[in-house]
């Protein structure tokens, strides 16, 4: 591949639905799962890399996040404020369902910074909410009997003050 520098090389990714995404190799480096696949391949990877656990909606969001963050970081002046504003909008634009799906995808693709950001976002959402809200959010069924739950709540009574309304 003479004449083409490493950072301009494009990698093609294929989602569950069969959609193809062309990604610069410098961005693909942040998708550690993909990068490991490339590193393990003996030859140059030319055919699309299949991602059987990632849907188009999630990959599109992840690439959007990475592209923007690369752009913010590559500027001569630090774009901290712009990045913070982008992050806030990014978090707000997703429903809880979409947030969870994105965490799963970011985890599978091993996108460390995004995963930490998403974990913090979810932590911020749930930390002051009621137990019922948290169950709903994660789709968890309550497997305590009413008596067990009553006992647990009484033991930790002081922790239930100051909880936000759902």
């Amino acid at each position: 591949m003479s004449g083409i520098s490493d950072t301009e090389r494009m990698i093609t990714l294929k989602t569950v639905e069969g959609t193809l995404f062309d990604v610069k190799s410098s961005i693909a480096k942040d998708l550690k799962t993909v990068q490991a696949f490339i590193d393990d391949s003996d030859d140059d990877v030319t055919s699309p890399i299949p991602l059987p656990n990632v849907f188009t909606r999630e990959l599109s969001r992840i690439l959007d996040y990475l592209n923007n963050h690369h752009r913010f970081r590559s500027g001569i002046e630090k774009a901290d404020e712009e990045m913070a504003r982008y992050d806030a909008e990014f978090a707000k634009s997703m429903s809880h369902e979409e947030l969870k799906a994105l965490i799963l995808a970011a985890n599978y693709l091993n996108v460390k910074d995004l995963l930490e950001f998403l974990n913090q976002t979810v932590a911020d959402v749930i930390q002051n909410k009621s137990v019922e809200f948290v169950r709903n959010f994660f789709g968890i069924e309550n497997d305590y009997t009413p008596e067990e739950e009553e006992k647990l709540r009484n033991e930790n009574e002081w922790a239930f003050n100051g909880v936000e309304q759902d």
């Binding site: 849907f55 969870k100 169950r135 968890i140 497997d143 305590y144 922790a159």
Partner: protein
């Protein structure tokens, strides 16, 4: 809009994404939730209770400090109950808005009601002394506690009055964590007045027992010296500032920092800055500021001197600050690098800006500032190897 869980399962397209996040992802989220909220979330489900109560979670939560919650425990030593304050909000919002009443743990064996003394804290546990001869290790958040007697150490001082006074003049107290054994140790060193020998008692929370031995402390600190009580636990070691009493003369060798290594279990000495080595000054305290060891004392110029050892065990790194406040007792370093502490005369919090030398006072007064200590909330449990059939 959240889609109904059931219709999700019907729309094939999202079916392979488990609606329930796997445990390790949940753990990543839990690490970022402040401890107080974590306690409540134990009720979500049995799995969550296991995740949150798993001894490894509190340890990594505490060690990684992703959402540390600092509190101040205040016990004015009269009949009022102890109070804790949210330290992060205290300076801005004042004491009345950030306080919570607490109760010291009950002690069935103790008939006397002569009071408690608050010593120091380590990893979310506060060490208290309960008259006449009990030590209490207490986690104010989870309420778990251990009480044990130190009667053998203080028996020579019985009938001499409140133990605290005697402890201050004739004993050394320390509380810290031995990382190599995952154990908490209480250290008490005292002089047996009949034999005139020094003894070192180490109480292990893991075995719930004392190990006592005779000891030779360098420079005989238990004899007529003022010891900063309790010792400061920092970097795996306990530190005391030992200064000669006025009237004993300079030939006893000036002040020194005595250090006890929790892992090696031995004493060694660290010099104080040479500028303050032989000066007499009113007794002060050792404090941790921003992870560094600091000496503070009020001086005759009606100001408070603070010396911070910016690099541990590097003599040349001692840096001096003069706080324009007479009885200033530093508590901690704020995120912006300001020294925040008590103005003991005005009974309020004050902040010293190290760059421009300005003092700022916080609104709201405290009623009485006798015993206090800072602690970081944790869900850690005390080791209890000695107990069979844990609950």
């Amino acid at each position: 809009m959240d889609m109904d869980v059931h219709s999700n399962k019907k729309n094939n397209i999202n079916i392979s994404i488990d609606d329930i996040l796997p445990a390790e992802l949940v753990r990543g989220i839990l690490m970022r939730i402040p401890i107080k909220n974590l306690v409540r979330l134990r009720c979500v489900s049995k799995l969550w209770n296991t995740l949150i109560s798993d001894p490894n979670l509190p340890k990594s939560h505490f060690d990684l400090s992703l959402a540390p919650s600092h509190r101040l425990l205040l016990y004015p030593n009269d009949s009022t109950k102890p109070t804790t304050f949210d330290l992060d909000a205290l300076f801005l919002d004042g004491p009345s808005k950030t306080s919570t009443n607490v109760s010291f743990p009950p002690n069935k064996e103790n008939q006397s009601d002569d009071g408690f003394y608050v010593f120091n804290s380590c990893r979310g546990f506060v060490a208290l002394f309960e008259e006449p001869h009990y030590i209490v290790i207490w986690n104010p958040l989870t309420r778990s506690h251990r009480v044990f007697s130190c009667e053998h150490a203080v028996i020579g001082y019985k009938n001499y009055g409140p133990m605290r006074k005697l402890l201050e003049r004739s004993a050394m107290f320390g509380f810290g964590y031995d990382a190599s054994e995952d154990d908490y140790l209480v250290l008490l060193a005292w002089k047996n007045t009949r034999e005139m020998e020094d003894y070192l008692g180490l109480f292990s929370l893991r075995t719930n027992s004392w190990t006592n031995s005779k000891v030779t402390l360098p420079n005989d600190p238990l004899k007529k010296r003022i010891i900063s009580l309790p010792g400061l636990f920092l970097n795996g070691t306990i530190h005391w500032w030992i200064a000669p009493c006025f009237g004993t003369g300079m030939d006893v060798g000036g002040s020194i920092i005595l250090v006890f290594d929790m892992i090696e279990r031995h004493f060694w000495e660290m010099p104080v800055p040479k500028e303050i080595m032989t000066n007499y000054h009113p007794p002060g305290a050792l404090v941790e500021l921003g992870g560094c060891l600091a000496i503070c004392f009020s001086n005759f110029d009606k100001k408070t001197d603070i010396w911070i050892m910016k690099e541990y065990r590097v003599q040349s790194s001692w840096t001096a600050y003069k706080i324009p406040c007479f009885l200033f007792r530093p508590l901690y370093l704020s995120n912006d690098g300001d020294i925040i502490g008590f103005d003991m005369l005005k009974s309020c919090l004050a902040k010293y800006n190290v760059n421009n030398g300005e003092m700022l006072q916080s609104s709201g007064k405290f009623c009485g500032l006798n015993d206090f200590c800072m602690y970081t909330e944790s869900l850690l449990a005390l080791p209890d190897d000695f107990m069979e059939g844990k609950e």
